[in-house]
Symmetry: C2
Amino acid sequence: MKNYHVAIVGATGAVGAELLRVLERRSFPVASLRALSSARSAGKSVLFRGESIKVEELDENSFAKIDIAFFSAGGDVSRKFVPIARNAGAISIDNTSAFRIEPDVPLVIPEINGEDVKQHRGVIANPNCTTAVALMALYPLHRAFGVKRVFAASYQAVSGSGQRAIDELREQVAASAQDRQSTPQVYPHQIAFNVLPHVDTFLETGYTKEEMKFQNEGRKIMHLPEFRASITCVRVPVYRAHSVAVSAEFEREVSVEQAHEVLAKAPGLELVDQPNKSRYPMPLTVAGKDNCEVGRVRIDCAFDNGLSFWVSGDQLLKGAALNAVQIAELL
Amino acid sequence: MKNYHVAIVGATGAVGAELLRVLERRSFPVASLRALSSARSAGKSVLFRGESIKVEELDENSFAKIDIAFFSAGGDVSRKFVPIARNAGAISIDNTSAFRIEPDVPLVIPEINGEDVKQHRGVIANPNCTTAVALMALYPLHRAFGVKRVFAASYQAVSGSGQRAIDELREQVAASAQDRQSTPQVYPHQIAFNVLPHVDTFLETGYTKEEMKFQNEGRKIMHLPEFRASITCVRVPVYRAHSVAVSAEFEREVSVEQAHEVLAKAPGLELVDQPNKSRYPMPLTVAGKDNCEVGRVRIDCAFDNGLSFWVSGDQLLKGAALNAVQIAELL
């Protein structure tokens, strides 16, 4: 079995930290690991398999002899350095949105379209975290009933905006307990004890970029060019794990019983649906888990062939680090 | 101008406290005020117009000489004591769900169906808080475009569950800062740094009672028996003010420009829709305000004639106390 020389770009970020843990936990065959970051974090160190690894500043020579490079340091860094990594002979697995919609870049959730990895030309994109979590439940239902469109709303954790946002929520909660002001830095408004219908930047249409990813990436991942998705993406004061309320319309008649059967068998997903025992997916219970959870499955009362359901998933894992390592495993 | 003898059932609760403030603030013509509660809170006192009023235990004689009785002490209390109040000659304005769907009980949002008050037979029902907040924006759009159905998801504050839930969130946040456990009492799970897709009790269908109120009460308030609404109701760690993400399908063609025009003129509503300046409705900014706020208005990308929007409103005011006093004013 071949061992791989691996680089992690953005090694000190929230996703970078998870990547190190997932590589270790899944015993990914790492021959060597290079931790890369911006100048600001270079010189720090990260732990991998009990060894301290010094973080190096990312530059044009960072990818010499690297086989696989994981990118999670923002779209601009990916746009600049993914081509450099490719020229150096590395395959890039990119967690940003930089290349996701490029026609010759596979956008992959291994449980859904793992086959697409084969068409890569040096870059494979990792999907948006909210989209990934929602599709883990939507895709098996699509296979069974044929999805036409969805209406959704998200409940997104602050860790989706990185370590600084986690610190910001913590600081705002402390400030509130001490009755003092705390000026938001990461978000435009206080996130503690508030919700913000604002994730990513706004487009001319009034949607955010984040909101359009569900439809655009959903079409590409499910190979469904007619798929329509309307979502409102909302940041909530939760540290970790995203949730999505979904109403989906299908081609064929649906039943809760059949849906349960399909969802219980779906890979990477757990059915948690005993509402009378107060058992349903929640961010607090799914955080730190590889599998996403689905529950609250019911016949939708505003569609003729529709199901409503609720999915929660650790967006740093399935929405980012875990999915990226699963892609590397497919290679 | 006549002055009224007023009773408040549930005077020490979260809504009761707001009722006292709203009656005072709107200079409602109160001749006398009787504060009523369960045995547990009787003997406490509440402030009204600078006067301390002793809280009396609710019993069969509580409504002697009362003209208007506001009920917000749970459905069971209303079911038992509203008939008693009626026999004593009082008109009841009921904030619980006990009588909302009864055919001979008007269910009223004054800005929408104030006329319905005239048909009362001693009881007028105040709508569900989430429904009220959402309809403040949906109804004017319905008048303009003809609503057919909506998909929605709510972000509901803990004050919707009363004072104990407010205390519970505060205690859980403190416990989390001190790294100690705090056992939930009001909710089945921790609400701090979590979201719960569980408001009110579950029905056989998998919906909660709270979720079905949107369709059932929406039909009655808007006089639209064919209206369909699919909603997921979710409790979030926010102290005050509910928000709702709505996608609505209309009979006629819609435009954001026309929608803005309609919403800007709607009574009891403010249009806050400058996303590029990070201006949109939020619980933190709408809390304590009489008006609901609507923003994030956009052409829905999964309906042919659809609009998506985001409403926030103080559910203790428009969703409860304010609306109840507005109903009393109509009388």
